[in-house]
Subunit: 468 residues, 2 copies
């Protein structure tokens, strides 16, 4: 349970190299999910930031198998919940042990899915999978990290190996800038400028938050500005390019893919040749990632005809073929492919288009409405900073879209004006019957917008209206 | 037995994907070695250029297990030694079969060592090894081939997988320029200019031959000009850089390494920061190549102190741990490392320096003379086009160097003047007692200078002198 620190990087290597398994644990889990994750992975030693001790203490005390709790970094006030300090361990035995040789398929790291539905599920990465993943993202057409790069992983190291950046950077001999427990968009922009960062990665929300602080800064060394975890809106990409000269680079991945699936890039034979357009797409799959499109209901693979829409399925040597303990078996096809829950299609070169998350798809009057396309259209409105769309049950049309919008600082939004503006951008039956203006959108543990929380808010709004 | 052609590339993929094994066979083997290579690998079907049929026919007829001989490309005059044509096979069944799934460690390709000592030895590449090798050389700091590259493998595809370029290029989606059976330095320079080649590879001899044709051409797209198989002389590198703006990039490899071991590159923390100097070195080993230095006699690994000189040993997932049929077991240490026969050392970052081929080292009066350093010093003489040095037995000093030099076109060389010039560049006891001026140097099947043939010439010269 560490921030993006030097000590965390040591644990990334020391634990697997000692023949043990590293379980990177989100700081934002509920007590129930935290207890599940530590128990399910059979955790024996916990390394923890002091600031998390108070909240995690009761959970740790209740787990008999946790033998040691090691405080990492500044220990803060004394705590009865920790018996060791990281620095003391290093001082006590500076000897570097031998690498524990063994079967390359043995476990090295466990990451848990974010658990938006039910309990988090464990995904086990083998040594083999980590090496192949690093080789894969180091391809020149993927991340292409070199010894000369300066890499800042903003995405937390407790989440899906920070998209593979720490392992790949050490593999390539690049410099790593680790922001530690400090955070906030201003600090991050300061780090990018001060250390002349060339590769960085975070979710779109953080890119949005950093933008006001980035104007006028020297960010000229950035050559890979990765975003992921959610579709990249054209308006955000345009603002970064036009205001700061930084080209955001979309990626697509999942904890189950270790985690990189694809990285946007400009194909040499792209029809339109427009780099900024191409970088919005999830891109062609990485070298060892095989994609196919399956039937939404039974998962049967569809024909290989390009453009067929269905659930994206993945297989390959860096893709999980099961969850820890065999849970979630319904997420895998009988022939071992992962059902991603993403709705999309493959182009003639195998390039991926994500249409929606399956559970976010809105079926209105027998026709689909893409929440992603609707959200992007809402954000084309110059007064809208962020937008999210969910489907709400509807008597006549089965489902209808409900939109949440956050106004840009210094502007106000009228729901009716937002709907009017949207009519110029999408077909009329896509326009939500209701638009809710809010100051911020709820997020889950990995920084993504929480559609589950939005559904709760949506139901409350419906109830209020019904009761009026 | 094919040239660098489209058909050969098809065989690179079709044979292993059908679950069979591709044996790429040099065109330059003696009848004895050719018979050995086809028999040892249990070859059943031969694909052959028509121009090679006459010479290979008698060997093929004597091998009972060769069931079919397929002529590739223009069939030329009818021959009783071939029963099938490549094109007819494609026309007869255009169906693309399924990929033969199976254990990743099964054999995919066999290459034979060039057999400078004894019979050629078979090195078997597994599917796993070929995939890992492609991933490895596609790293941005290695070849870093992208979809946008145009790759011209000049090094023959029958030799060590053409240094891995065909597989890596297809893996990355790059364009390949295949020169076919045509050759000659003028044609190659034409191809580089016409197709705006960005990556190419050949031995130093071919770089030397291409230079006169390269002046004034547009070779500006070249970003990796790879050379290997022998040390890169500073004078050749300087001429290409100064006269054509092309920076030659040294590499080091062996058939046993599948074949890439290291590629020269400029380290970000290089002390002198001089790019052209750094690119002369064999470089830091590739990602999956482990190097160590062993005792010259018993092969025991030396201390890890940087700078210790000994025999370079290699291990890793792309390195052979045996030859086909278990021959040449003395080339491997008890713990499975390959003894390369190269004398060298490792720097503080694991960067490789090759001092000499073990069998080329000259021991004069108890002290070593490096043939590589001596050859480079000879080529610093502006009138010397090429130079080679061998050790000759000597009564008093055990061994003394003997130099062969080729004058530049339009110049003449006097042995005594060459020795005099050399005195300004090396210590006096390194200067060869005899310098032989010749119009060309003998080469072996892979285009390297044949030191074995030079030793025969050297003995003849000595005998002549003794008899006078």
């Amino acid at each position: 349970m560490c921030a993006n620190t030097y000590e965390h990087l040591l644990l990334y290597f020391a634990v697997p190299c000692a023949g043990l398994v590293l379980n990177t644990v989100s700081h934002r889990l509920s007590a129930e999910h935290l207890a599940h994750v530590l128990d399910d992975a059979d955790v024996r030693v916990v390394f923890i930031e002091p600031s998390l001790l108070e909240r995690a203490g009761p959970v740790l005390r209740a787990l008999d198998r946790v033998g040691h709790v090691v405080v990492v970094g500044d220990p803060g006030p004394p705590s009865s919940d920790a018996d060791l300090r990281f620095e003391d361990l290093l001082d006590a035995d500076p000897h570097v042990g031998d690498f524990a040789e063994g079967d390359e398929t043995r476990a090295a790291v466990i990451c848990y899915t974010s658990g938006t539905t039910g309990l988090p599920k464990g995904v086990v990465y083998s040594h083999r999978s980590l090496v192949l993943h690093a080789l894969m993202v180091l391809q020149a057409d993927s991340l292409g990290i070199t010894e000369g790069d300066v890499v800042l992983p903003i995405v937390p190291m407790f989440h899906a190996n920070a998209w593979g950046l720490p392992y790949a950077s050490v593999f390539a001999g690049a410099d790593l800038v680790l922001p530690g427990a400090a955070h906030g968009p201003l600090l991050l922009v300061d780090l990018i400028e001060r250390y002349q960062v060339s590769v960085t990665a975070c979710v779109a929300t953080i890119w949005r938050d950093m933008l006001p602080h980035a104007r006028g800064r020297d960010l000229s060394r950035i050559r890979r500005a990765l975003t992921g975890g959610a579709p990249l809106s054209p308006s955000l990409a345009r603002e970064w390019l036009e205001e700061c000269g930084v080209r955001l680079n979309n990626t697509w991945g999942m904890t189950e893919l270790a985690p990189s699936g694809s990285i946007a890039r400009v194909r040499k034979d792209a029809a339109d040749g427009s780099p900024s357009e191409a970088l919005l797409l999830p891109g062609t799959p990485n070298a060892l990632v095989r994609l196919r499109v399956g039937d939404l209901v039974d998962g049967e693979p569809l024909t290989r005809r390009s453009g067929a829409i269905g659930e994206i399925q993945v297989s390959g040597p860096t893709t999980a073929s099961a969850y820890l303990g065999g849970v979630g078996a319904e997420r895998f096809t009988p022939d071992g492919w992962l059902r991603t829950g993403d709705l999309g299609s493959l182009g003639p070169y195998g390039d991926l288009t994500i249409t929606d998350r399956l559970k976010d798809v809105i079926k209105s009057g027998g026709e689909w409405i893409s929440t992603i396309d609707l959200e992007n259209a809402l954000m084309e409105n110059p007064d809208v900073a962020e937008a999210a769309v969910i489907g709400m049950p509807h008597e006549r049309w089965d489902e209808r879209p409900l939109a949440f919008v956050v106004p840009r600082p210094g502007t106000t939004l009228q729901p009716q004006a937002v709907r009017q503006d949207l009519l110029t951008r999408v077909v009329s039956w896509w326009v939500p019957d209701e638009v809710i203006v809010t100051s911020h959108l709820p997020r889950n543990g990995t920084g993504k917008i929480s559609k589950a929380d939005l559904r709760v808010l949506g139901r409350k709004a419906t109830d209020r209206r019904t009761n009026q």
